[in-house]
Assembly symmetry: C2
């Protein structure tokens, strides 16, 4: 297990968006920032995608209501406490967190969203948050996203950001994003959060549609473990300052925006996989030849979630039997005698049978990046999914007693 | 991680059933037996339950056809080679394995079933099997089940057997069983197999119904990892030699037989969990207060399959947040504010909120056996499920390169 290579954090700015970060004392470690704010200078269109877990953290419940208006000024994030499984008090604490920021900025109630990540079941220390907010507002800066990306991390080994630009409707549109996440859920100190800011001029309906598509092919196509956080949230704010013609839910401009958002989202999603708890390998699973995209996704997801495939990947073992067994229990219609599998380009299964190339495959797999390609030869649909291996370090990180 | 305590193997005999075991050279380790046979002196009623994995090993395909007749004389088992993902040749090899035994015993084609467990994707060494069969038939003995239980093991740390007797219809009926399994699947060297023999006089329909019920509450209610083997098979043979009145699919005699079979199956299932790959704890998950048994089972199974719950169990961490997060993503209707959770009797969540008893729970969990009790308080249905923790040893066992 070599130490994790830390990708360098990309600084970016997007016209009309400021960000800031301070330490208010939620995280136990001294000197760790734990409060972040993203603010649009003008009211922005907003869209959100939230955890499908039925146990939803208080800020998720609050944000789900607030995004319905389609407009927001920004989001405040607490890191170190998830404000989940905290009942009615938790909901009021989330409202209070937003209100501190709204009051400090002279905004109306409901204009600020809230996200939290960290320990479950412990009341949010609202007094610490109240204490931190004046400095947080004071620190707002157009170059503040780098600091915000750092402040929202918990078990992350490195902060994550991405940015992309494109000409849309004759104007340059920028989408910047920051994210945190290292396990799909870790009620101690993890969750997946991602925030995008863009100067695109886009309707709320179009923004929602683009966000949903971008999430499906990025954050919903990765897996570190098989768990889903109570706090997962993705938000996008669009303030129209690029002056581009308003983007509607269909047409060339929408497609261009959607592609751009998808690219930034995928970059952040891959950074989360690379930061997977205890991971030593970045694994791409490509299922092709499926009867439908849904079946291709299901097959890929089942392979990605298999304890046995993941431990074999850790061991550098081209154990295709485990891949076939996972496929077989995925619920997807397959014909065993039609399945081809290759590992980093080396065919190990052809028409359901061993090719005898395991030694060659073992050599090809001896890399930090492994691609498992499965061709079902049943149809024309395909899907890509990304995951990690399952390692001693994963067990160590997640079995250590918290206190 | 203390060494696994090996339960002692119970010897048993059931009137009219003989068993035997020899080494024919399939397993690499010298002196390990790898061929077993169970034979009824007279034609027996038979029922089987097979893996639901769409990738099915050749012997599974063969047996699924053969049990349709409702009668069989017994089963021959190869250990060390799964004869899975071996195509048409694999099927012919399974037929040949049965034929060697049928010929040696002067039986008609189709009277013997075949099971295999071991490496996937490697042709069965049929010449070795042919060579071993004469000695195997020669060794048949009414006291041979202990040896057979040993011969069918692969990654198992210990062989598994169970036996129970009851008066049914005025006669003493015996059910004996042997099983193997340590991971739910491990295409290298694992799978779950169980064989029951009984002198009950019972119709095929009743036998089928009783086996299905017994499996649902035993082998289908345990999980070591989240994988399902290509070879899983449970068979029951009933030779009527107890002379009890024929048991029909309903009534007091059926209930008594079904209860007896369920008891033996549950004992074997628990032995498989205790032998779980790398396991240091035997974990019972009881979900009560569900709206339906199906929902209770789904909730219990999701908790049992969570990487995070399993690593917390390894660490002795009363991390109830992970249990609630697993519940929340299980797809089961829950009301967060109604959920109660206790760990080895210590309430850690009451009405969805922390009870503040984590330290006490940590002490109570510091045992080889842990019970997670979840009350959804939504209805009257409940379900029990058994699993293990997820440990360094699991990762080691499953990541070691096979060759």
């Amino acid at each position: 297990m070599s130490p994790k290579k830390k990708p360098s954090l990309r600084a970016f700015s997007v016209p009309g968006f400021r960000a800031s970060s301070v330490r208010c004392g939620i995280k136990k470690a001294a000197r760790k920032k734990d409060l972040a704010l993203i603010l649009s200078d003008v009211p922005a269109r907003v869209a959100g995608v939230f955890t499908r877990n039925r146990v939803k953290a208080a800020p998720v419940l609050l944000d789900k209501e607030r995004v319905l208006k389609g407009r927001s000024r920004g989001v405040v994030v607490t890191a170190g406490n998830a404000n989940a499984c905290t009942g009615g008090k938790g909901y009021r604490d989330a409202e209070a967190t937003a209100a501190f920021v709204e009051e400090a900025l002279g905004l109306a109630r409901g204009e600020i969203l809230v996200c939290s990540t960290g320990v479950i079941g412990v009341p949010l220390p609202v007094d610490k948050v109240r204490f931190g907010v004046p400095a947080l507002v004071e620190a707002l800066d157009y170059g503040g996203f780098k600091g915000a990306a750092e402040a929202i991390t918990t078990t992350d080994a490195f902060p994550k950001s991405a940015v992309a630009r494109a000409k849309i409707g004759g104007k340059t549109v920028t989408i910047g994003g920051i994210a945190k996440g290292a396990g799909m859920v870790c009620p101690d100190m993890a969750t997946m959060l991602a925030f995008f800011v863009t100067d695109a001029n886009i309707t709320t309906a179009a923004l929602k549609k683009a966000l949903r598509q971008a999430c499906d092919l990025s954050f919903n196509s990765i897996m570190v473990d098989n768990d889903t956080s109570t706090n997962d949230t993705v938000l996008v704010f669009a303030n129209a300052l690029s002056g581009c013609k308003e983007i509607k839910p269909r047409g060339a401009a929408f497609d261009a925006f959607s592609e751009l958002l998808g690219r930034v989202a995928l970059e952040l999603a891959h950074l989360i996989v690379r930061d997977g708890e205890g991971a030593t390998r970045f694994v791409e699973i490509v299922v092709s030849g499926a009867r439908s995209e849904k079946e291709a996704r299901r097959a890929a997801r089942t392979i990605a979630g298999s304890f046995l495939v993941k431990t074999a990947l850790f061991g550098g073992d081209p154990n295709w039997g485990r891949i076939l067994a996972a496929l077989g229990r995925s619920g997807v219609r397959i014909k065993e005698s039609s399945v081809d599998v290759s590992l980093n380009g080396v065919p190990v299964v052809a028409e359901g049978l061993d090719t005898g190339a395991e030694k060659q495959a073992a050599r090809a797999m001896d890399k930090k990046e492994v691609t498992i390609a499965v061709d079902l030869n049943m149809g024309g649909a395909s899907y890509r999914f990304w995951t990690t291996d399952l390692t001693y370090a994963y067990v160590r990180i997640n079995s250590m007693y918290r206190t």
